[in-house]
């Protein structure tokens, strides 16, 4: 028989105290995809061998991402009962020094330290000569809700999640709240979908809740193929239980019988960590029959898709789970009536569901008080491109985008000037440098032609060519068009052909109006967002950088010289 939630909590606290205030120092290493790309697995192995060769005992955990990806590999040491001290851009050599001086000798290596994070309840004095990491530009703007545990806990250990308040929202829901009251809490939060459409989550849930069918599904979409967005994968890698708890609460509120978490095949880190969370939750009775002794029974399965960007579209996603080509369906009927395997279905993005446990715990009003206007809560932004501090930040909606770029992300690398931001994924748009003084708000951004999308923000400096970037975005959209609707399938190919011509400095006077005509047809004649929004990169680029296109066409010059360099696009595509 599964233990009671009280027993789980006691065991979790016992284990957690053993980690933070036990006999041995605790070393945590960030090993999300960003860490892996910087060499975190080599650093973890080097740490373990340094401990062994120096005969030092310590606990080593592979945690997720703290958001400071620019500093990866990021390793921190917490002496028993002490504060966490972080070391950035660690390599095997630095590990040797950190282990001998700090882990074994108790003296932090100040010259290598990025900063410290003060630990609640620690009696130790704050380290001297090391900066407070909470004062780092990337952290001062933050309000971490969905990311509250990221980088702090071992994602493969459900007890660490429980020790940090995990599954208390589910417990509160199942013992104190009716389905309607749970829905009401989410409604009060004003939470809107974070997958791109920003549709009110409670309204979407109420469609499913109102359907009396006995078998209903909740789908969590972690297809996330957007170049520049990695927050969904990162949540699964850093704190999969936050998402899982959200998926379970969504199932309860909507009366669903099963949940699916949908991830792209090949993203092994997110898949393994998510599957481990599901397995452990089942073992502890937090998932399955009569959860926490209630009459609510619910299962969650991790399903995989092949490589397909369009599989992130909600109806194409259902086709892929059913094992077919990921092509969108006609609507109506809408998923809440006829969805996965013909059953009523609700689809939410990872970030949306990851907020739910905290909304339930702290109340909808608490969440609604964060943010701006009808854009409540936080935005989880992925900062990439030529920025000084690349990574992931969770900031309240309503702050100024220029503060994100020039303060939190530390501005542009190598003293270069910002030229443009590409936001919202390949179907989003570009925003000229003069227009970044703008509030992070779903409506404000949309009006500027740069949607929030999934939260990806790519910054390009003055050396980037906007025509070349637009060509690259359309090459992606063309490659990823599923081929179902010919305005999208042929329109993307035709747009790419025109953009290639402009890049070769062979564009004609008609090319800009030709692209607009193609774009209008794609928008009018496509079934899903891929074709409907697929002209966004071109239209926004023309809006902010029309003269640069004209320079290519009329003066036969690429001002940055980019267009004279070789260009590559993938050979294979869906035919």
């Amino acid at each position: 028989m599964a233990p009671s939630f009280l027993e789980i909590g006691i065991e979790a606290d016992r284990r957690w105290q053993g980690l933070i205030a036990g006999e041995r120092p605790w070393i945590r290493i960030g090993t999300a995809l960003c860490g892996e790309a910087a060499g975190a697995f080599e650093v973890a192995a080097a740490t373990e061998s340094a401990l062994e060769s120096q005969g030092v005992a310590a606990e080593v955990s592979r945690v997720g991402c703290l958001g400071l990806c620019f500093a990866e590999p990021l390793l921190d040491v917490q002496l028993p009962g002490g504060h966490r001290i972080f070391y950035s851009n660690v390599d095997a050599e630095k590990v040797g020094e950190i282990v001998s001086s700090h882990v074994a000798g108790g003296t932090p290596v100040k010259s290598l330290a990025l900063g410290y994070l003060p630990q609640e309840g620690s009696d130790e004095p704050l380290p001297e000569g090391i900066p407070d990491l909470n004062q780092h530009p990337m952290r001062v703007w933050e309000n971490r809700i969905a990311l509250r545990n990221a980088g702090n806990i071992d994602p493969l250990d459900i007890y660490q999640y429980v020790a940090n308040g995990g599954y208390q929202a589910l417990h509160k829901t199942l013992t104190n709240l009716s389905r309607a009251e749970t829905l009401e809490e989410v409604k009060a939060s004003g939470l809107r979908g974070r997958g791109g459409a920003a549709f009110p989550t409670a309204t979407k849930w109420s469609f499913l809740a109102g359907n009396p069918a006995p078998e209903k599904y909740v789908l969590c979409n972690c297809e996330e193929g957007d170049p520049g967005a990695f927050n969904d994968k990162n949540i699964l890698e850093s704190d999969p239980n936050t998402l899982l708890e959200g998926v379970i609460i969504a199932g309860y509120a909507t009366g669903a019988s099963k949940g699916y978490i949908f991830i792209r095949h090949g993203h092994d880190g997110p898949i393994e960590r998510c599957r481990a969370a599901v397995r452990q939750a089942k073992e502890l009775g937090l998932l399955g029959e009569n959860i926490m002794g209630s009459d609510f029974s619910y299962d969650v399965e991790v399903a995989l898709t092949g490589d397909s960007y369009v599989a992130g579209e909600e109806t194409a996603l259902m086709e892929a789970i059913e094992g077919k080509r990921a092509m969108p369906r006609f609507r109506p009927p809408f998923p809440a009536q006829v969805g996965l395997f013909g059953k009523p279905t609700n689809i939410n993005n990872v970030k949306t569901l990851a907020y739910v446990p905290e909304i339930v715990s702290k109340g909808g009003k608490w969440f609604a008080d964060i943010g701006h206007d009808t854009s409540t809560g936080t935005a989880i932004l992925c900062l990439s491109g030529s920025l000084n501090y690349t990574g992931m930040v969770e900031v309240p909606l309503g702050i100024n985008l220029k503060d994100v770029i020039f303060e939190a992300a530390g501005g542009m690398r190598n003293g270069k000037a910002l030229k443009l931001l590409q936001t919202g994924g390949p179907l989003g748009g570009v925003l000229g440098a003069d227009s970044v003084d703008i509030l992070l708000d779903f409506e404000v951004l949309r009006a500027a032609g740069a949607i929030m999308g999934s939260g990806g923000i790519i910054a390009a400096d003055e050396t980037a060519c906007v025509v070349d970037l637009t060509r690259s975005l359309i090459a992606f959209c063309q490659y990823e068009s599923c081929g179902k609707c010919f305005p999208c399938r042929m329109g993307m190919s035709h747009l790419l052909e025109v953009l290639e011509r402009i890049c070769r400095l062979e564009g004609t006077d008609e090319d800009l109006s030709l692209m607009r005509t193609i774009g209008e047809n794609m928008q009018a004649g496509s079934l899903c967002g891929h074709g409907q929004l697929g002209f966004n990169p071109v239209s926004s680029a023309l809006r902010y950088f029309g003269s640069e296109f004209e320079t290519h066409i009329v003066d036969r010059t690429c001002p940055t010289g980019t267009c004279s360099l070789p260009r590559y696009s993938p050979v294979a595509s869906r035919r």
Partner: protein
């Protein structure tokens, strides 16, 4: 059953998740063999009680499926916008040169395949490449070429 057929059988029947479909079965075979031989397409058609045609429709849709045996190594370079704006094209060119290739695809001696990937998911470390699914970030044309050379030299028969 031949050895190949046995492996296909084991992969398809060994799926642990409750929802087993044409796509999940093909992914299981791809994981086991690194490609989809025609025997696998036929097996999955029988197993799923559908036609070879319908299975091919799914297999040919997703570009992660290969239909010829895998090369010894796979090198991928990300060409998403994050990587593009910080030099992915130059890095890809350098990878092709280091592998002695003109364009994306399998090298004729089957030692390495070079591919563009739509997004490797580590955008904050752009530009990113992967060697046999192991990520490396902040690459330059020089480091990318070195990575390829090291990969091809590691099993001792030179680039």
């Amino acid at each position: 059953m031949s050895g190949l057929e046995q492996r296909i059988h084991a992969a398809v029947h060994g799926q642990a998740q409750p929802t087993v479909t044409v796509l999940s079965s093909l992914l299981a075979v791809e994981d086991e063999l690194g490609y989809l031989p025609k025997e696998a397409v036929e097996f999955v058609a029988n197993f799923s009680d559908t036609t070879v045609n319908d299975v091919w429709a799914v297999a040919s849709f997703y570009p992660n499926f290969r239909f010829v045996p895998p090369t010894e190594h796979v090198v991928e370079v990300c060409w998403g916008a994050s990587c593009h704006v910080v030099g992915a094209m130059a890095a890809f060119r350098s990878v092709l040169e280091a592998a002695g290739m003109e364009a994306e695809g399998d090298r004729p001696d089957n030692r390495v395949a070079v591919k563009l990937n739509t997004c490797l998911g580590a955008c904050s470390q752009a530009p990113v490449m992967s060697m046999d699914h192991h990520l490396a970030g902040r690459i330059t044309p020089e480091s990318a070429a070195k990575n390829v050379a090291r990969l091809l030299e590691q099993d001792g028969h030179g680039a």
